[in-house]
């Protein structure tokens, strides 16, 4: 054979082989589709089983209908469905449900009546296109698959129909034998469940009851096992059959150790109350329930308290079969109770010692209680019955206080106030002695907000009030003395100054005569200096006194003009060249006390002049004025001799003199400080010896409104 022929044959064979391969894919696909079809059928049967189970659980006919409606579509994979259950004689009497019939524009009730006529009772019907052509109302469908089933015993019918619409028919599988056989199984199941639906309901109810009982039993078992309380189950003779873990935990006895034993024989001991023991014995013998607090002993002999509840159990025939004992461990509660009692007694001790009266008035029972302090305060003897306590309390209040005191208490009673704190006077019921009490009253309410009782405390503050009164009186006396002293100082100073001024005048005249010899002149000059110093001192004492005696007088002051006057006065008292500067960033007009600001500035600026350096060419003093937030700030700076570091902290003290020069009295800066204090301000100083001093005054910034208030 030629090579070319071989090649051609091989090529042909290869092409044929490849064609077979691709065509084998087609065959393989048919197998896959067949496999899928079987798989799908299995899935459909599984869905049917699931539906049956769901129908068994259905609690109403409507739920049954809805499940079947969905089932037709889901299991049979049809497009839509309708299901009707009702009276076979009256189609308007039943329920129906549909799904996926959005494309059906007609009346669904009418569709049911049409289907009633089309489907014969009992059999499953498949209407194909040709069959459907005979029924105008069904023309929108390409396939109809359903059944009509009658339950003769109840005269009711079940209609269940699935559809595929014409418009979407290409999307749905043809109704083939497989679908029909599934539908057959489906319809059999549904019909059976329809017939047995009442029976199903009963079975379901029974199942539910059993399930409920099981749940209850489980719950009880869980409660008994897991409760924190000890549980003992004993037979009718009182012998233990079962105990829970909490019992073992509390008592220390495991179940195997106590089975068959009577609890009283090993739990109770020496200190257990004999009364409690006999009460339990009596209740058990009479098969009556009992609840009692009991002292028990654990396995190691330790005491513990329990609240014991024993319940006899009877069977359905009324025969006594068991005892159930519940033990609540009360050890902690009893310890707490004891602790509360101990605390209470301590509290009483404290209140007794502190002389606090405690009272309580039960508004429901109209009775009251109070402690001994209160009885003492009000003069209530021990014999007075509890229902009279409140009326004695009320009647002891002095008539002038009684009305408003009772008004306050009634506000608490009526709920307009939570509590009230009052200070009032009472007259002791027995001694007639008056005293002043500080009283706190509050209301106690129940959880619904209803008032239960009034509770109050009273504290006798008579001594304290008297002491306060004494202090007030002494204060007044002191004020009076101070005022008198100020007046005295002023009068004395004033009276002293008059003859002094005369002396000064005489001395001046004698010295001007020029007839005295040198020695006499010298003596008289010394006398003049001393007289001047005495005059300065007296004037400053008067100034101080004036500042202390007089109240503030606010007025509008032209600060610049005031300073100018001070500068002018001082300018002529200084022999050397001296510069005066005034700087201000605020209006010249300020509101202040004119007398005091004048005295203040005169003193400070005067000091600058007095203590200026004579060895420099430009001695100066500068007053600068500004506002800093709400403060008026005055700064007086000079380049004078300055103040030593050790003196600077003392310069505002009375009679302190930072220099030994003869010009100062030691009162000037003290008066300045008093003035600034009176003006609600502060004064401070910074200085360096040989460099100069800065005095800083900060005072509240006053305005026209403050002035108006002052006027008013």
């Amino acid at each position: 054979m030629h090579t070319s022929d071989q090649y051609l044959r091989l090529k042909r064979d290869f092409a044929e082989l490849q064609l077979r391969v691709t065509q084998f894919s087609s065959v393989e696909q048919q197998l896959i589709i067949a496999r899928d079809s079987l798989d799908q059928e299995l899935v459909q049967y599984k869905r049917l089983n699931k539906l049956s189970a769901a129908i068994l659980q259905a609690t109403s006919e409507l739920e049954f209908i809805n499940l079947v409606t969905d089932g037709i579509i889901d299991i049979l994979e049809l497009e839509s469905s309708i299901v009707f259950v009702g009276d076979s004689e009256d189609l308007n009497s039943g329920y129906f449900s549909s799904e996926g019939l959005g494309h059906y524009k007609g009346n669904q009730q009418h569709l049911i009546s049409v289907l009633f006529n089309v489907l014969s009772t009992g059999n499953n019907i498949h209407l194909n296109k040709e069959d459907i052509q005979k029924h105008k109302e069904l023309h929108v469908f390409s396939d109809v698959l359903g059944f009509l089933f009658k339950d003769d015993t109840k005269n009711s019918v079940l209609l269940a129909v699935g559809f595929v619409g014409v418009s979407n028919a290409k999307l749905y599988r043809n109704i083939d034998n497989r679908t029909k056989s599934i539908f057959s199984v489906f319809s059999d199941k549904i019909k059976l469940q329809f017939l047995n639906r009442n029976k199903n309901t009963k079975i379901k109810e029974q199942l539910e009851r059993i399930s409920q009982s099981e749940i209850e039993l489980k719950k009880l078992s869980m409660i008994a096992t897991n409760t924190k309380n000890g549980v003992i189950i004993a037979n009718k003779f009182g012998e233990i059959e079962w105990v829970n873990n909490s019992f073992s935990k509390t008592s220390g006895y495991e179940m195997h150790e106590v089975l068959g034993k009577k609890p009283g024989n090993f739990l109770q001991g020496l200190e257990t109350s004999p009364d409690a023991k006999s009460a339990i014995s009596e209740a058990l013998s009479k098969k009556l329930p009992i609840e009692i607090v009991l002292l028990n002993y654990d396995k190691r002999g330790r005491e513990y308290y329990v609240q014991l509840e024993v319940i006899p159990v009877f069977n359905d025939h009324g025969e006594h079969v068991n005892f159930i004992a519940l033990q609540k461990d009360m050890t902690d509660e009893i310890k707490y109770q004891q602790e509360i009692l101990r605390m209470n007694s301590k509290f009483e001790l404290v209140t007794d010692s502190s002389k606090i009266g405690i009272w309580e008035w039960d508004l429901i029972n109209k009775s009251g209680v109070c402690n001994s302090n209160l009885r003492q305060q009000f003069g209530i003897s021990e014999e007075v019955s509890s229902d009279l306590i409140f009326s004695i309390f009320k009647n002891s209040i002095l008539p002038e206080d009684k009305e408003w005191v009772m008004k306050g208490i009634y506000e608490v009673i009526h709920g307009t106030a939570l509590n009230v704190v009052q200070t009032f006077r009472i007259e002791n019921n027995l001694t007639g002695k008056q005293s002043t009490l500080h009283c706190f009253t509050l209301a106690e309410k129940d959880t619904k907000g209803n008032l239960l009782r009034l509770i109050g405390s009273t504290f006798d503050i008579t001594d304290s009030i008297n002491a306060q009164q004494d202090i007030l009186e002494k204060n007044e006396e002191l004020k009076k003395i101070n005022s008198e002293l100020d007046n005295f100082v002023y009068s004395v100073s004033h009276d002293l100054r008059s003859p002094l001024v005369s002396i000064k005048g005489i001395l001046m005249n004698v010295l001007r005569m020029g007839t005295l010899d040198e020695k006499a002149t010298r003596f008289l000059q010394l006398a003049e200096v001393s007289a001047n110093r005495l005059d300065d001192t007296i004037q400053e004492i008067m100034e101080y006194s004036k500042n202390a005696r007089l109240g503030l007088t606010l007025e509008e002051v032209n600060l610049k003009a005031l300073c100018q006057t001070i500068f002018d006065d001082l300018r002529f008292s200084v022999e050397d060249y001296f510069e005066f500067h005034y700087k201000s960033t605020i209006s010249d007009l300020i509101f202040t006390d004119k007398y005091r600001i004048t005295a203040l500035l005169k003193n400070i600026i005067g000091n600058a002049v007095k203590y200026h350096r004579k060895d420099i060419l430009n001695p100066y003093v500068e007053l600068s004025v500004k506002h800093d937030h709400e403060a008026l700030v005055l700064t007086v700076t000079d380049n004078g001799i300055g103040i030593s570091e050790k003196s600077i902290s003392r310069i505002f003290e009375m009679f302190y003199r930072a220099t030994t020069s003869s010009v100062g009295t030691g009162l000037g800066l003290y008066i300045c400080k008093e003035i600034v204090t009176k003006l609600n301000g502060e004064i401070s100083a910074e200085s360096q010896e040989g460099i100069g001093t800065t005095m800083l005054v900060r005072m509240p910034k006053l305005n026209a409104k403050d002035y108006e208030n002052e006027i008013n």
Partner: protein, 395 residues
């Protein structure tokens, strides 16, 4: 910062189904949902789903698509009454949609959406979730349009919607509208979120290729010089009355990848599906050039499993320690119950999900069996068929 929540269920009544999913996903916080993505099998009433979703989450944008089955944290389900949701809380997203998208106007419709989306988003969009009808659409043209507006660096992920493999109809829902040939795109703009995507198929090309001898956009008119559909089903060994229902499971067509892409993909071929035919014309999923060679394929179960493992390993590696926040999953419906039985499929999905668990919990997961999948390949947005594609959002 966006938060994601998911749930899936099989419940007949559509309103009950969406209610249960939202309750499972978000507990009693479902009213705080800002974006709700629904995948539901074709048996559900989409109008009812939307109506109920709007009642439960009145402020949420509600988007949905039909599919052949769903995958969620709860597992896989392929019935006519499946539903899966991904609920999102936060406002770092924008949505655009269109109706009437087909193969011939895919580019134009997507370009319009992309332009509007870019304009409506106040923040920089970092990824696009795209969902369109899976029947008669040119997905390459869709990608081209988005790439032009957002740049090829922005990842497109998502799928094309389907029915139960009939190739008859698919739905897309946007707020109160239900479309049959619609599309929507979500632009996520949460800067803290990253995304990694990958797809795998595990099929092997066999035999001589079919040569496209006449085509028009996404329609193949002739194969090997013969009427396309007839030539195709003949090669598949199907009878002349076969439909797409018959051809889809076995008719994956393979296009050859460049050697570089083949290495990254783990396979020499990328697959394409035919979801519709009109007479002899076959509706391809992307633009198809004349002269293109298309191979028929056979599936290789061993390869499917090993490629799946590779893909998950590769994705975990790409995460580089970042935590998976949510996983979007698109699977070809032909890889569903017509490829594997339920047990194998559950095993596959279990193997797929487990590596993304954090603290023993599966991240929010929404998957669907649809007609096609988007995932990056060769650092480009690419459309795939017959694959399992995972989109892992991470932070």
């Amino acid at each position: 910062m966006l938060d994601f929540f998911s749930a899936s269920a099989r419940i007949v009544n559509s309103k009950r189904a969406i209610t249960e999913c939202l309750e499972v996903a978000m507990g009693d916080q479902y009213s705080t949902c800002d974006l709700l993505l629904i995948h539901a099998s074709i048996g559900h009433d989409f109008s009812e789903l939307i109506e109920q979703a709007k009642i439960l989450a009145p402020n949420a944008r509600v988007l949905g698509a039909s599919c052949c089955g769903v995958v969620g944290k709860e597992g896989v389900s392929e019935s006519l009454k499946d539903i899966a949701v991904m609920a999102v809380r936060g406002n770092e997203f924008a949505v655009e949609s269109c109706d009437g998208i087909f193969g011939y106007n895919s580019y134009l419709k997507c370009k319009e959406m992309a332009v509007r989306l870019k304009a409506s988003s106040t923040q920089q969009i970092t990824m696009l979730y795209f969902m369109a009808s899976g029947i008669d659409i040119d997905n390459n043209e869709c990608i081209r349009a988005f790439d032009e507006v957002f740049g090829a660096g922005i990842t497109i992920f998502g799928a094309t919607s389907s029915d139960n493999m009939r190739g008859f109809i698919s739905y897309q829902t946007v707020d109160n509208n239900v479309f049959e040939h619609g599309a929507f795109v979500i632009g996520f703009s949460d800067p803290s979120l990253g995304i990694e995507t990958q797809a795998t198929h595990g099929f092997v090309a066999v035999g001589d290729p079919l040569i496209v001898t006449k085509s028009e956009g996404n329609k193949i008119l002739e194969l090997n010089g013969n009427p396309a559909w007839e030539e195709y089903i003949n090669r598949l060994g199907l009878s002349s009355d076969a439909t797409c229902v018959d051809s889809i499971p076995i008719g994956a067509l393979a296009e050859e990848l460049s050697p570089a892409l083949a290495i990254e993909y783990g396979n020499k071929h990328i697959l394409r599906a035919v979801t519709k035919h009109e007479g002899s014309a076959m509706f391809y999923a992307t633009t198809i050039q004349e002269g293109t060679s298309l191979w028929l394929t056979v599936r290789d179960e061993d390869l499917i499993f090993s490629e799946m493992d590779n893909m998950v390993e590769c994705l975990v590696e790409k995460l580089s320690g970042r935590t998976p926040i949510a996983v979007f999953h698109a699977d070809c419906l032909a890889r569903g119950r017509f490829l594997f039985n339920r047990i194998i499929k559950e095993e596959l999905v279990g193997k797929m999900q487990f590596p993304f668990y954090t603290n023993g919990e599966c991240p929010p997961w929404i998957g669907m069996y649809g007609f096609g999948e988007f995932a990056r390949l060769g650092n480009e947005n690419t459309f795939h068929n017959y694959t399992t594609a995972l989109y892992v959002l991470c932070r």
